[in-house]
C-alpha cells in the first residue's frame, strides 16, 4: 500500500464575523495516500471550498482554522509560518483554481506567468525556465507556440489546461483542484478529466478534486467524500458510494440527476434548502430535509459510523455499528 501523504485530523474552520461564528467546516478528518484520487462533492455552501483552502493554507480572514491538524509529509501545515509554507507550497502541493478566467493574469503571456511562478519558488536560468514551461504545456496537450499567447487568445478548455500546467511545474505530490471543469462545456469537460487522469497515472501525484457534480468523478476517483453543511456525510470507495449510497443525502444527490440513458424516471430532488451555518439545526444537520428522519434525528448528533468500507454520519447506521461491535 502506498505511503500516507496527507492526513487531515478533526479540522474545523470558522468565519468569525462580528455577530456570528459561522462554522463552515466542522471536525473533518480524511487521509490520502500517494497517487490517490479523492473526490469531494457537495452543494454550494457545504464547506468544500473552505476545506480545500484550509488544507492548502490559503484561508484569509475572517476565515480561520479553529482546531485540528493538516499533516502533510510529516509536517503540520497549520502551524507552519508563511515563510516555511513557501518551501512546501507549489513544490510539494499545488492548487488549481475554479475559474481560469480569473486566475490567469489577462495582461501577461502564458510564458511570463509560468516564469513568475518558477521564480517565486526557485532559481533557474531563463533558458531552463523556457524549457520547463514548454515541457509542462506539452504535458497538458498545448502546443509550445502558445507560450506567447495571452489568456484571451485561448479557449476556456485551454486556459484551464494552462492552469494545470502551472500546477505541475515542480511535479508536486499533491494537486488540489477546486471545480476545474465547472466553467467548461461537456465535451471539453470530459476531455480535461481524461487528461487529468492520464497525467496522474503518468506522474503519480495524488489529487483532491472538489466538485458539485457527482456524476463527473464517478469514473475517475478512487474514493468519494460527500459533504453536507460543513461535515462529512459519507466517505468511502467510489464504487460503493455510487453503487450503494448509505446516507440519505448521498442517495438524494444521486437521484437528482436526470439520465440520458435508460428509462425516464421521475426525479425527486431534495426538498428544502441547506441550513444556515450560523444556526445549524439541532441533532442531524440533514434531518429537516431527510425523507428517512426519525424522532431521534432531531435531538442526537450522529457521529461517523463505519459501515463496510464507508464511514457515514447517519443514525440509521448506529444500530448496525453496535451489532458489529
Amino acid at each position: 500500500m502506498p505511503e500516507l501523504l496527507l492526513e487531515v485530523d478533526d479540522l474545523s474552520v470558522s468565519y468569525l464575523t462580528e455577530t456570528a461564528d459561522i462554522r463552515a467546516v466542522e471536525g473533518v478528518s480524511l487521509s490520502l495516500r500517494s497517487g490517490e484520487f479523492l473526490g469531494i462533492v457537495g452543494e454550494s455552501g457545504c464547506g468544500k471550498s473552505t476545506l480545500l483552502f484550509a488544507i492548502a493554507q490559503l484561508l484569509s480572514p475572517p476565515a480561520e482554522v479553529v482546531s485540528g491538524r493538516v499533516q502533510f509529509k510529516g509536517k503540520d501545515l497549520v502551524t507552519l509560518t508563511e515563510g516555511e509554507l513557501r518551501h512546501v507550497r507549489w513544490r510539494d502541493y499545488s492548487v488549481v483554481m475554479q475559474s481560469a478566467m480569473n486566475a490567469l493574469n489577462p495582461m501577461k503571456s502564458i510564458a511570463a506567468q509560468l516564469a513568475d511562478t518558477i521564480r517565486a519558488h526557485t532559481r533557474m536560468t531563463s533558458d531552463a525556465i523556457r524549457t520547463r514551461s514548454a515541457e509542462v504545456l506539452h504535458l497538458v496537450g498545448i502546443d509550445a507556440a502558445h507560450l506567447e499567447s495571452y489568456p484571451h487568445q485561448l479557449s476556456g478548455g485551454m486556459r484551464q489546461r494552462a492552469m494545470i500546467a502551472m500546477a505541475l511545474l515542480f511535479t508536486p505530490q499533491l494537486v488540489i483542484m477546486d471545480e476545474p471543469t465547472s466553467a467548461l462545456d461537456v465535451v471539453a469537460q470530459r476531455s480535461l478529466m481524461t487528461k487529468i487522469k492520464e497525467l496522474q497515472t503518468e506522474l503519480g501525484f495524488a489529487v483532491i478534486f472538489v466538485t458539485h457534480d457527482m456524476s463527473l468523478i464517478a469514473h475517475y476517483s478512487d474514493r468519494v467524500m460527500v459533504m453536507y453543511a460543513g461535515q462529512v456525510a459519507e466517505i468511502g470507495e467510489t464504487d460503493s458510494v455510487f453503487g450503494r449510497p448509505l446516507h440519505p443525502y448521498s442517495k438524494g444527490l444521486l437521484d437528482a440527476f436526470p439520465s440520458i440513458r435508460g428509462p425516464r424516471r421521475p426525479l425527486t430532488g431534495i426538498p428544502g434548502t441547506p441550513p444556515d451555518l450560523a444556526r445549524p439545526p439541532a441533532g442531524c444537520r440533514f434531518q429537516p430535509r431527510c425523507s428517512e428522519a426519525m424522532p431521534a434525528c432531531s435531538t442526537i448528533r450522529p457521529e461517523l459510523y463505519v459501515v463496510g468500507s464507508s464511514d457515514v454520519r447517519c443514525l440509521l447506521y448506529a444500530e448496525e455499528q453496535r451489532n458489529a461491535v
Binding site: E43, S44, G141, S155, G156, G157, M158, L184, D185, V186, V187, A188, Q189, R190, S191, T194, H212, D213, M214, S215, L216, A218, H219, F242, G252, L253, L254, D255, A256, F257, P258, S259, I260, R261, G262, R264, P266, L267, T268, G269, I270, P271, T273, P274
Partner: protein, 347 residues
C-alpha cells in the same frame, strides 16, 4: 380581455411560434470592420401550444441569442419570427408590443442578479400585473400574485411575497422568476438556462415545476440549456445547435436514441452519468468552433470524424432523417434508408 387579443387567438393555426431563416450577426470592431460574428444563422424552428422545446448547445452556440431574438431584445439581421401568425419584429404600437411581451415573457439564467435587491419580491409580480393586466383591481392583483406564487411552489404565498431577494435561496428566487412570468398569463415562457446556477438537489424541483406548469397553466416553454440530460427530462422536442446553426431536431427520445448528427453523437458520449459505465472517450478536446466569418461549409467539419470533401464546400441544411426528425449533415443516413438496407439484407 380586449377584442384584439381575441382576434389574435383566433388566428392561431399551426404552431404557436415559428421562425423563418432567423439570422443574427454581430459586427466586431469598428463600423467598417469585416469581422462578422455569426451568432445565429438561418434558424427555422417551431414551438406548438403546450409544448416544451429544448434548445441545446454549448456556450457560444447561439442559443441565448435565439432567446433574445424571440424576446425582442435584438432585431434579427435577416429572417422573421411569427407568433400566432404575426411577424413579431414588425409590431409597432405600444398595445401590440405589450401584448407580445405579455404572452411571451422570459425567465433569466441568474436568479441572483435578475431581481432588484431593494424591493420585496412582490414588487416584480405586482408591476407585471399592473402593466399587463390593468383591468384588475388592487385587491385582485394581490390575489393573483398569491395564486402564481402558490402555483410555482412558493408557499405560504402571503409570507413569501413579503420577502426580499436576499432572504431567499437560489431555487426560491428562480421560482419567483417563473411567478413573474406566469402573472402575465403567458402562452410561451422563454427560459434561458433556468437551472444552471442552482444546486443539483434544487434543480429537480424546478424541472418538475416546469413540467407541471405546462399541465396546469397550458403554457409552452422554450427551455434553453447546455445540459442535454435535463432537456431529456422535461422536453418533448429537442433542437441541437452548433456554432449558430440548428444541426439536429426531433422528438426528444428519437434524437437521443438515434442521434444522426456527429455533433449530437459526440455530445451524448461526453455526458457523464453517475450510474452508467463510461462511454469510450473520443480524441475530441472540445475546442470551440469558428463563428467569425465562418464561410461556406459545415461548421463542425474540423472536429468531425466523418467529414468528406463536400463538407468544406457546401453548408449542410436540415433534411429529414425520419418522419419528424431532421439533421444537417451530408454524411448522415436517414432512418428509412437504413431500414431499407436492413430489409434488403434480411431478404
Amino acid at each position: 380581455m380586449n377584442s384584439d387579443r381575441v382576434s389574435g387567438a383566433q388566428e392561431a393555426v399551426g404552431p404557436l411560434l415559428r421562425t423563418v431563416d432567423l439570422t443574427r450577426h454581430f459586427r466586431l470592431g469598428g463600423l467598417f470592420s469585416k469581422r462578422i460574428l455569426h451568432a445565429v444563422d438561418d434558424l427555422a424552428m417551431t414551438i406548438s401550444e403546450r409544448e416544451i422545446v429544448a434548445l441545446v448547445g454549448e456556450s457560444g452556440s447561439g442559443k441565448t441569442t435565439v432567446a433574445r431574438l424571440l424576446a425582442m431584445v435584438y432585431r434579427p439581421t435577416r429572417g422573421q419570427v411569427f407568433y400566432r401568425g404575426r411577424s413579431v419584429h414588425s409590431l409597432r404600437s405600444r398595445k401590440d408590443l405589450l401584448w407580445y411581451r405579455g404572452e411571451v415573457p422570459m425567465v433569466f439564467q441568474d436568479p441572483y442578479s435578475a431581481m432588484n435587491p431593494v424591493y420585496r419580491v412582490a414588487h416584480g409580480v405586482m408591476r407585471n400585473l399592473k402593466l399587463h393586466r390593468p383591468d384588475l383591481e388592487p385587491a385582485q392583483r394581490r390575489q393573483e400574485a398569491e395564486r402564481v406564487f402558490d402555483t410555482v411552489g412558493l408557499s405560504p404565498a402571503d409570507d413569501m411575497l413579503k420577502k426580499f431577494p436576499y432572504e431567499m435561496s437560489g431555487g426560491q428566487r428562480q421560482r419567483v422568476g417563473f411567478a413573474q412570468a406566469l402573472a402575465v398569463r403567458p402562452k410561451l415562457i422563454l427560459a434561458d438556462e433556468p437551472v444552471s446556477m442552482l444546486d443539483v438537489s434544487i434543480r429537480a424541483g424546478i424541472l418538475n415545476m416546469m413540467a407541471s406548469l405546462r399541465e396546469q397553466e397550458s403554457v409552452s416553454i422554450l427551455y434553453i440549456t447546455h445540459d442535454i440530460a435535463s432537456a431529456r427530462y422535461v422536453a418533448d422536442r429537442i433542437v441541437v445547435m452548433y456554432a449558430g446553426r440548428a444541426v439536429e431536431q426531433g422528438p426528444t427520445e428519437v434524437v437521443l436514441s438515434r442521434p444522426k448528427h456527429p455533433y449530437t453523437q459526440l455530445l451524448l458520449s461526453a455526458v457523464p452519468g453517475p450510474r452508467e459505465a463510461a462511454a469510450p472517450v473520443s480524441a475530441d478536446s472540445g475546442e470551440p468552433p469558428r463563428v467569425i466569418n465562418p464561410g461556406e461549409g459545415c461548421r463542425f467539419r474540423q472536429r468531425c470524424p466523418y467529414a468528406i470533401d463536400e463538407c468544406a464546400r457546401v453548408t449542410p441544411l436540415l433534411r429529414p432523417m425520419g418522419p419528424v426528425h431532421d439533421a444537417a449533415c451530408h454524411v448522415a443516413t436517414p432512418d428509412s434508408v437504413e431500414a431499407g438496407v436492413a430489409a434488403t439484407r434480411d431478404g
